[in-house]
């Protein structure tokens, strides 16, 4: 598996990260190292071993379907840059 500099730009764009060419080069080198590590692990024979979706081999605990959270809008909105009529305001996103 190899990673091109264009892949780095693409992933950065998807993650909404602005990168200078210098930063992209650095990230590229670092990511290639990680890919190297992955390649090493891929070499291990895992025949017959089920993939784990989580590092711990335990299962999800469930909660009862009851409402436990009170309305704390004022508290939460105190941290918002702009609010109106109870709504959070953000720069317009409609296309």
């Amino acid at each position: 598996m190899s990673l091109s500099i264009n892949d780095v730009y693409k992933v950065a764009r998807l993650a909404r990260l602005g990168m200078t060419e210098q930063e992209a080069q650095t990230a590229h080198a670092q990511l290639l190292n990680i890919f190297g590590l992955i390649a090493e692990m891929q070499a291990v024979d895992t025949t017959g071993i089920a993939p784990m979706p989580h590092a711990q081999d335990i299962t999800q605990r469930l909660r009862k379907d009851v409402v436990t959270e009170p309305n704390q809008r004022e508290l939460f909105q105190a941290a918002a840059p702009q609010i109106k009529n109870g709504l959070y305001l953000v720069p317009q996103v409609i296309e």
């Binding site: 693409k10 764009r13 998807l14 989580h54 469930l62 379907d65 939460f76 709504l87 305001l89 953000v90």
Partner: protein
Amino acid sequence: MQWEIVIGLEVHAQLSTSSKIFSGASTAFGAEPNTQACAVDLALPGVLPVLNRGAVERAVRFGLAVGAHIAPRSVFSRKNYFYPDLPKGYQISQFDLPIIGQGSLTIQVPTTTAGQTYKKIVRLTRAHLEEDAGKSLHEDFHGMTGIDLNRAGTPLLEIVSEPDMRSAAEAVSYAKMLHTLVRWIGICDGNMQEGSFRCDANVSVRRPGAELGTRREIKNLNSFRFLQQAIEYEAQWQIDTLENGGTIHQATVLFDSDKGETRAMRSKEDAHDYRYFPDPDLLPLAIDNEWIEQVRNTLPELPLSKQTRYVADLGLSVYDADTLTSSREMADFFEATLNEATNEAKLCANWLMGDVSASLNREDRDITQCPITPQQLGGMLKRISDGTISNSAAKEVFKVLWSEGGNPDTIIETKGLKQMSDVGAMEAMVNEIITANPAQVAEYRSGKEKVFGYFVGLAMKASKGKANPAQMNEILKRKLAG
């Protein structure tokens, strides 16, 4: 040459839990903006999702109802994209290991002949649990967008079908059946105006027998009428495009219900690169057989089973059986009515689908708001069946039951609606009529059979409309023959 339309549907059913899928905030509809958005829904730092047992149980109910495999172990994944109504920057969904595997749904599709349907089995690919996003409000904020996160974190079951439907009518029948089923098993309120049941339609066209064509996905159809219109428009657009030498490009389109047309959304090239990966905040979901069996034991008899029983055991038509199982409340009403008027399934069906439905429609009510109880209706139908009242007298009784209530037998008594079946009295009336109308009798006896209607009119008038018509006709014929 013909074209074949190929349709697959993705339906988002909002699960009827009290709290959200990963937090303890309320899911009640219509609250003031952001009053039901807690720290988890807002993705504040340090919070963790905890899965709602009620959402899982509803998914299992659905899986059992469509005969699907319930995964003993399923996994939640992150679907990554940026939008202000998605505070975490990802939606928690399921990707390669969904909770519900393949199943199927049997539908009845109406034909162009009224009252006629054909049966079709639509395969379900999968159903998975996920959270809903918040709402963006684009008006009135001077270049800003308002965000309400009350809906963020509401549990959804996304139900994906195979591309098995071949017409808009089939797609609508499927969506309606699914809509009936999720309400029937009590996992979703089905309120389409409030967005509790939303359809996306994947539409493509091809020459019969050819490979599948390129599909376009129509998003967010929130009524059966729009679903029908959007598919018909889209399929015709694709056929026209191909016949004019064009090609179809995969795209997401929106249906403009005012103009009745579909329109491609401007899409960025990376729009569908969601970079799914297992959510490290959530462990795999385990469902054991014991739980599945517990859920199975609480399932009501399903619509398909009732339909089959109504046709095989009660002798109803497929169309009647389909209509009577359009909701669990309707089927319960029908069965309770039949419980009163035993062995009169067809009569019960006719009245429920006829006078009762028409009266409900007129007053914009549903069957749960019917002013007449099944016991009252059945009690009245019993009197038609044993010959106490005629069909037209029953309509009188029905009117009184509807507007004033009461006991059908008492109404029949006080309104004097009992059918006359005293043969002696009827014969006496006929004798009198014959004596009083010698000219017409002579006409009839000379072969003018049309005059018979005249005698029927006189006889019914003489009995004040209470004579049993079949009996009266028989007496008239006998006496007039001389």
